[in-house]
């Protein structure tokens, strides 16, 4: 029995059978306040101050909020335009996984926007000033601020709503602005803001200092040598051609670390001179989640500095969804131009682009049977799907990871239409919500994806799902057990690569050669 069926607050209401099966099921009756109790822990003053925000809410907070709105409306066309032009058509209302999971109408994308739009209208538009009740405008009060904090930290900034909006209104942009406004009056979120502080101080989200990284990487080198008989290096702070920047979860979490081993093997097999950096030991950029360009830039600049100091020619980003967005859409913009790098390669590049290139050039050898236990599916991570690209054509971000999986696995099946590619469902933990204080929301928001997975599990016997996002991987390994899957049913794409790759001079290569010998001389084998 899955969590969904056991869940007391849904089971009691005798949901229709499709609620348990249809990944895109939503409650036709919105339930006001159904998610109002789900609140993340607020940040302590010292963590706010480290990011340049006030530690406490100032006396004149209302003024500051309105000034900030005025400021944002002058700086971001998205903010101004999106607040103006929504026609309340309703197309987005059933598209948010948090609405599907909680039925709270303030989790409908337009409902979420309206929390801010109502105040914007009251203070920045004529109709809102003259006829507030006619246009749904409201005063800025303490309760409003509270509500913002609750519901703007129930959005994973996944952009699914933006796909279905006739004007492309992206609630993620509004959420980012709202979080920036909240931060400007000292109301921040503990999880995101503590982490950004760690990056400023140490260089990564986990606060791993250089010695810790060194010993982890050494352990990994030993492990790979034991498995393959080949000395594969994981260099740190060495002069090289390629700087690999990867989410720090890759250094210790499961299944992330198996992905890191995969990257190292691919670099080894292609003969690349590469390095990690202790200074820029984090691809994640949580400042994007709180909509702060200043802080986002401060994190991005670490990558620039590392690239200069290590004299590299290329920057490659490891498997992570929002990190790939932060790199793809923002790195050049915030920390560029990167004219000191090799102009023959895009800046930055995704590790999947690198691996797929190498596969196409015939530089990698695989034994797909190593992955024959697995019937795979692939979870498109929101930020990769809807806020970036891979390769040189639109939609390459969908094909390249699938191509890699198919190159290293014999069994691959897609989840149902409407839940993949640009319509992919969020894992439920993105956008800075990957914290235990939001566990209830994470389970509910993850349930549509879990139902989609159940579909292919039942139909095709799919038993593993691969992803290229550190947050997705952590989130799934945490929530999958509630839905009848095992913690390790989520895998890294490069973990599959790592399993199947046959390194020159490795034990695997020898075994393969022996097998081939036996096949060629069947009599001798008898």
């Amino acid at each position: 029995m899955s969590e969904l069926e056991k869940n007391p607050d849904t089971a009691a209401e005798e949901l229709p059978p499709e609620a348990l099966e249809d990944p895109l099921y939503f409650d036709p009756e919105p339930k006001e306040g159904a998610a109002a109790h789900i609140r993340s822990f607020p940040a302590a003053p010292e963590f706010q101050e480290a990011l340049g925000y006030p530690g406490e809410r100032p006396e004149n907070w209302k003024e500051v909020v309105l000034d900030k709105m005025q400021d944002l409306r002058g700086k971001f066309r998205s903010f101004r335009l999106f607040l103006d032009i929504c026609v309340k058509c309703g197309s987005c209302t059933d598209k948010c996984h948090y609405y599907m999971g909680t039925a709270d109408p303030k989790n409908m994308p337009v409902g979420r926007q309206d929390l801010l739009r109502s105040v914007y209208r009251r203070y920045f538009t004529l109709p809102g000033k003259w006829f507030p009740s006619l246009v749904g405008a409201r005063e800025l009060t303490e309760e409003v601020l509270d509500e913002w904090y609750t519901y703007y930290f129930q959005c994973s900034e996944c952009r699914r709503c933006s796909v279905y909006c006739p004007y492309g209104i992206d609630t993620a942009e509004i959420t980012m602005a709202a979080r920036e406004i909240l931060d400007s009056v000292g109301v921040g979120m503990k999880y995101t803001n503590e982490i950004i502080g760690k990056v400023f101080k140490v260089g990564n989200n986990l606060g791993l200092p250089k010695p810790a990284l060194e010993s982890t990487l050494e352990d990994l080198e030993e492990e790979i040598e034991e498995d393959t008989g080949v000395k594969v290096r994981l260099p740190l702070d060495e002069p090289a051609d390629i700087l690999l920047v990867t989410p720090s979860a890759d250094f210790f979490a499961e299944p992330h670390i198996d992905g890191l081993i995969g990257y190292a093997k691919v670099f080894h097999a292609t003969g690349a001179k590469w390095t990690l950096s202790s200074y820029a030991s984090e691809a994640a950029n949580f400042a994007m989640f709180i909509g702060s360009y200043e802080n986002m830039r401060r994190v991005a600049l670490r990558i620039r500095k590392a690239a200069i100091d290590l004299g590299v020619k290329r920057i490659i980003i490891g498997e992570c969804g929002h990190a790939w967005r932060a790199a793809y859409q923002f790195l050049n913009t915030l920390a560029g131009p990167f004219d000191f790098l090799d102009p023959n390669y895009p800046v930055p590049q995704h590790i999947c682009e690198y691996t797929w290139d190498a596969i196409q050039q015939g530089k990698l050898r695989f034994n797909k049977e190593e992955n024959d236990f697995y019937k795979m599916t692939f979870h498109d991570s929101c930020n990769v799907a809807r806020a970036s690209r891979m390769g040189d054509y639109p939609g390459g971000q969908f094909d390249i990871p699938r191509n890699i999986i198919k190159a290293v696995c014999n069994y691959y099946y897609d989840m149902p239409e409407g839940t993949i590619k640009e319509e992919t469902l969020c894992c439920g933990g993105g956008g800075g919500l990957l914290t235990d204080d939001l566990m209830e929301l994470r389970k509910k928001g993850g349930s549509p994806r879990m139902k989609a997975l159940k579909h292919v599990a039942e139909e095709h016997g799919v038993n593993k799902m691969a992803a290229i996002c550190a947050i997705c991987k952590t989130q799934f390994s945490k929530i999958m057990p509630y839905f009848g899957f095992a913690m390790d049913d989520i895998m890294s794409v490069h973990q599959l690569v790592s399993n199947a790759i046959v390194l020159p001079g490795s034990i695997q290569e020898k075994e393969l050669m022996e097998e081939e010998q036996e096949e060629k001389t069947p009599d001798a084998a008898e």
């Binding site: 700086k75 998205s78 335009l81 309340k88 058509c89 830039r297 600049l301 793809y328 915030l334 639109p394």
Partner: protein
């Protein structure tokens, strides 16, 4: 001035008639509507121009299209075309809203083209060709608006996000549509006189407005529509062309796109390494 004379000539009985018959013209009504239309048009044109200027001048500090997005300008223009004409994203989102919205907007276009005959002399061929369709487009326009209204009233999610102004906007369109239809199908208005009035407005050579209730309602509501346009969600019409998730080519790696308010990268300070 000449129009003074024409008032005398046209406004023979000098009183406004109420009823579906065209009983005459009233100088008061003509002046009122002439002035109303000048004001409404000024607010509409000035307001929309101002909004466009605002959107144009507000930075798009990063390249944030909702991907997959075309890489070239031409590709983006094609996506925008599909969005504006076929409501591509809405089609993906909700088929019912799409049907009613298409019915509503396509009819509106036909109606607007048909109405051009009141402003253009001689009437261009295209407008003449649209005449028979434009006539019935009024019906599908009302049907579309009713469909949208029904969704707003009866679908709980849509009801939740609707403000009074959202209903009023649809009622406004229904009022315009029904008053217009009644002049076409129920009680004919002297459209020759209406055309003379409109052309007169444009040439500052006022002509009398026929005083019939449906016409007064129709023209009054249209003027109201023009006045609220720049202050309301009707801005979606020019706004869509400025939407950063739809109108930017997907090229952040290929093209440097600096944030206008951040100092250039050679003037920044880097955080010191850990432990230093």
């Amino acid at each position: 001035m000449s129009h003074g004379l024409q008032w005398q000539a046209g406004g023979n009985d000098g009183r406004m008639s109420i009823g579906f018959e065209r009983v005459g013209e009233s100088p008061v009504l003509t002046t009122l509507f002439a002035l109303l239309y000048y004001v409404a048009f000024a607010i509409f044109a000035g307001g929309v121009a101002y909004r466009i200027w605002e959107y144009w001048n507000t930075p798009k500090p990063a390249n944030i299209p909702t991907t997959p997005q075309p890489i070239t300008r031409l590709g983006v223009a094609w996506r925008m075309f599909k969005e504006v004409v076929f409501f591509e994203s809405l089609w993906k989102g909700n088929k019912w809203i799409w049907i009613f919205a298409q019915l509503f907007h396509a009819s509106l276009w036909l109606i607007l083209i048909r109405h051009a005959r009141y402003f253009l002399d001689p009437v261009p061929t295209l407008v003449a060709l649209a005449q028979p369709f434009g006539k019935y487009a009024g019906l599908t326009f009302v049907l579309g608006a009713l469909g949208l209204l029904a969704r707003r009233m009866f679908v709980p999610r849509v009801r939740y996000i609707s403000s009074p102004s959202d209903y009023l906007m649809l009622l406004l369109f229904l009022g315009i549509g029904i008053s217009g239809l009644s002049m076409t199908f129920v009680n004919h208005t002297d459209i020759v006189a209406v055309k003379a009035f409109m052309l007169g407005l444009m040439t500052f050579n006022w002509q009398p407005l026929p005083a019939s209730l449906p016409l007064v309602v129709h023209l009054g509501l249209v003027a109201l529509w023009m006045i609220i346009f720049p202050f309301s969600k009707l801005l979606h019409a020019p706004g869509i062309f400025f939407s950063p998730t739809r109108n930017m080519p997907d090229n952040p790696r290929e093209k440097f796109h600096p944030v206008p308010w951040l100092p250039p990268v050679d003037q920044v300070e880097y955080d010191p390494p850990h432990g230093s």
